[in-house]
Symmetry: D2
Subunit: 324 residues, 4 copies
Amino acid sequence: MKKIAVFTSGGDAPGMNACIRAAVRTGIYKGLEVYGIYRGYEGMIEGDIKRLYSHSVSNIVQRGGTMLKSARSEEFRTPEGRKKAYENLKELGIEGLVAIGGDGTFTGAKLFFEEYGIPTVGCPGTIDNDIYGTDYTIGFDTAVNTALDAIDKIRDTAAAHDRIFFIEVMGRDAGFIAVESGIGGGAEFVMVPETKTDLKQVVKSLKNLRKSKTSSIIVVAEGDDLGNADEIMKQVKSQIKDPNKEFKVTTLGHIQRGGNPTARDRVLASRCGMAAVEGLLDGKTNCMAGVMNQQVVYTSFGDCIGKPKPLIQDHLKLIDILSI
Amino acid sequence: MKKIAVFTSGGDAPGMNACIRAAVRTGIYKGLEVYGIYRGYEGMIEGDIKRLYSHSVSNIVQRGGTMLKSARSEEFRTPEGRKKAYENLKELGIEGLVAIGGDGTFTGAKLFFEEYGIPTVGCPGTIDNDIYGTDYTIGFDTAVNTALDAIDKIRDTAAAHDRIFFIEVMGRDAGFIAVESGIGGGAEFVMVPETKTDLKQVVKSLKNLRKSKTSSIIVVAEGDDLGNADEIMKQVKSQIKDPNKEFKVTTLGHIQRGGNPTARDRVLASRCGMAAVEGLLDGKTNCMAGVMNQQVVYTSFGDCIGKPKPLIQDHLKLIDILSI
Amino acid sequence: MKKIAVFTSGGDAPGMNACIRAAVRTGIYKGLEVYGIYRGYEGMIEGDIKRLYSHSVSNIVQRGGTMLKSARSEEFRTPEGRKKAYENLKELGIEGLVAIGGDGTFTGAKLFFEEYGIPTVGCPGTIDNDIYGTDYTIGFDTAVNTALDAIDKIRDTAAAHDRIFFIEVMGRDAGFIAVESGIGGGAEFVMVPETKTDLKQVVKSLKNLRKSKTSSIIVVAEGDDLGNADEIMKQVKSQIKDPNKEFKVTTLGHIQRGGNPTARDRVLASRCGMAAVEGLLDGKTNCMAGVMNQQVVYTSFGDCIGKPKPLIQDHLKLIDILSI
Amino acid sequence: MKKIAVFTSGGDAPGMNACIRAAVRTGIYKGLEVYGIYRGYEGMIEGDIKRLYSHSVSNIVQRGGTMLKSARSEEFRTPEGRKKAYENLKELGIEGLVAIGGDGTFTGAKLFFEEYGIPTVGCPGTIDNDIYGTDYTIGFDTAVNTALDAIDKIRDTAAAHDRIFFIEVMGRDAGFIAVESGIGGGAEFVMVPETKTDLKQVVKSLKNLRKSKTSSIIVVAEGDDLGNADEIMKQVKSQIKDPNKEFKVTTLGHIQRGGNPTARDRVLASRCGMAAVEGLLDGKTNCMAGVMNQQVVYTSFGDCIGKPKPLIQDHLKLIDILSI
């Protein structure tokens, strides 16, 4: 293998730049030519591909976003699109790919390998942490800390006014951000897609909360079974029926995707980027480089996409105990 | 004057604690007994008032929110409510008040003085900066920096994806937060209540933005004449009609009220708190202690509430020039 | 077991408050009376012990430092000191202890159990991460992020001026903070106690660094075998002999111990605090509750203190590769 | 005037990039060609000058440091050096300069104008705030907040251990950073070059501090008349003679120069950059564009350099009162 290319795809996540940097420099360190593909599969189809050097990735380890940009590509879902992509890679002589992204990214890479045989090793780049095969995904730690910072700020104002706040964090299918920011932020309740939310119980508890607790914070993952934060607030409000209580909703939204990555995300991203290139050189393909139990592990794309990644049971227990 | 009391009222603002601390310690330094009234006028009516000592305000200068809590009081708008409040103060022998808050707080204090003659000096505690008689209000600088931090984060993800972001910041009647965070965050447009927003011009400009500018950020004060960020986004989207452009809205909400106060807010708050007590001892009443041109100035409540505080013209000019 | 007490000892670490809170509330949740011992073993000897309730630990999860304070105790090293401590605990009927701290804390607890039979379960509270039996210690993640934030800031000014910066971080015996902040901060070199620093190689590399790299950052753990950052800088400077190069040293010092704990530290601390109480109720003693591979594990104090905890080899490799 | 150039010189300060951006875009907006001179006067002499476009300054408003780099130039102090610099400018047809820096920068610009008649308008770029003609300098607000953040962190650990901390902040000739970070951080004492430090009084007060105040923070400007923080600590320690008290020193150093600029610094920098270009077009020279009392003012370089800028008296009073 002489030439490889790296790209980011799907929703961006803090730490992607650190991952790109590690992949590029590891490749160069190992004697490879390294290319960057811009805007994910879209750029692969359009041939938006440039040679990257060591200095190309200077001064990006600390930046959010992705210098290679990201995009969704409808065209890559078509055989014609993938054919164009393959021809562009072939023309440049690219023999291996590092794909930084999530489920959709890996699904695309798997299909592409089956059709055209270009080996790909993935890196788990998504804030949601919902990928099997790695304890944490790149961007998750930063997103949790951003959510936590917002919860801390809202607690200031909640405490000043005796209010009940519903804070919606990202997580359409997974409650990891909600759970960890909820524990860290001292939330009274956390509502996640993985567990059935018992509204009656919540209402009952809110009424019973000891008098000294004048404000309450409820963290809601956007994909909770009862709906989003706004919908849940309305249901709770209608059942509590206390005109003196104020109910407020804050939806954190895209700020969770940005920001300088935390130390943990930069280190994890660097490690995955290095391991992906080492994996390619080792003959690996169709798998993702993750970190579990402090060790690099390679997991097949099939498992990454298909296997469930459950919440940590202790964390759910903590929420119950700590809100007393 | 031997005994004074301090309270916070209206929406809380970062720096209120620093202001309370300065008022309390200045009072004690000057030989006064100082009391804290909890939950603003509501606590004044209910007699929720405690003696404060120097150590009562230790370790709060750096905290958001207000240790004295805040509340709206319907009852204080009634003659009966104010009578109760007066009786509580009289019973404790309180002869002067430091009122930290905004328009509503000062309106109440003015009326109360007219009826019961208890002198009050105010401190400008509100994130909106819309009070005449001070260059900046307590909490404004922190709120702007919080908004700016969010804009910086969103720019990361906007740049990664070629998107147009509408970010709604606080400011029902005043565009100060929008303007300063917009300049600081490098926004392409800023929409504020003080100026008529020309939607056609915005749409035209967005279409013409040079190609290298792949993402755009538009900061919207919640009180813009065209509506909130969500409504404006829909109007812009319907007129741009480009299926490849993604339009996203983020409403920052209550995180702007929280957080550790910035240096500027802590210093301003400390200065206003000290000046309020010095003002009371000087025989002042019915006025607010603010800082203009680096000097403490006292402005009558009537002027604080009634006089307009225009945006700085240079700032509006900057937005035009810097978005090219 | 009906009554337990919790204390912090040794150097303070961000997250200790979250750990205290979790221990207190888990105890109460399980039906125990919980006490707080102030200033570690010193307070145990002096009887500075108070009952803690659920509300006693409200609003502390986000604060650095330790509400129970910490101290070194010479007296506890004497049989007389430990006897007094025991009598104070006995008088209150305390039957179990949660000890949050590091090596010294656990050594004391071990001895105390051997002499007086009061079971103790520990929690790993130290920023250095040098305790066997847990992947990370409480406070480490915050300290790394604080160091990283400083490195990011110094990089701004290093890049503006073509300078070589030596940044000293904490770590007398362990290089964890140096390694993770060095990888995350994009340092050119990292010097740690665990590996022999080859000064000749450093000097040679600094001379050879490609021309485009105008500034360099070297992270030094305070316990490096070549000395502290100031001493190493002088050696490097005398060997490089380039009058145009500026050499600067920054010693981060105690800021690494403070600050609001990160999400990771709050979650880890909460989990250890809960597990410590559960361990006591389970009949455990003389061991520490840590988290390895996402699971709570209990490790004997003997192993915690005696077994080495090596740096992660991949991390050392990363530093070499990423500085090209 | 058709062509202007902008440069940064002296110590870098957060906000310099925002100032460069504003100068560049204002120039282009007004129809000028704008050039960037790299590494200050050094680059002027070496001809390290490049045309800048609107996109050249994209995405820098939020970054610390200076994209144009900075350097000290011995050669510019010689007639030969300045002659070379002039010839480089003349060759490119540059008719006006925007000089971002402090005293030294303006002294050079003044001399250069007197010799070669190239008009220069300056912008106050220095963290020390010691330039007459502007309420605040660019970078000061960020530096104060960085210092304050460090003080907050150290307070956490000071409070946990009953310690006396001496924190040294920048300010060789001016105490602005020390005073504002000291007020904001709740310091017990602040020592600055502008006032004589009475060590006896400090020692006496430290001994008398009420018992509930278990830790103390003393902020020292590096240029205090009694020496730096380390020297002062030793003097205090030798006079207090309390073996139970721990004395610790932290020198913040270069982290105060870095970091993303605050909102205030970005807005001030943008305004000064715009005003400098407008001033040049208005025929101004040999003066600095600053902001006083919310208005742009132009002050002659002679006054900027020569006139003293005293500390705000109220601030010194605040320190006395608030430390009770």
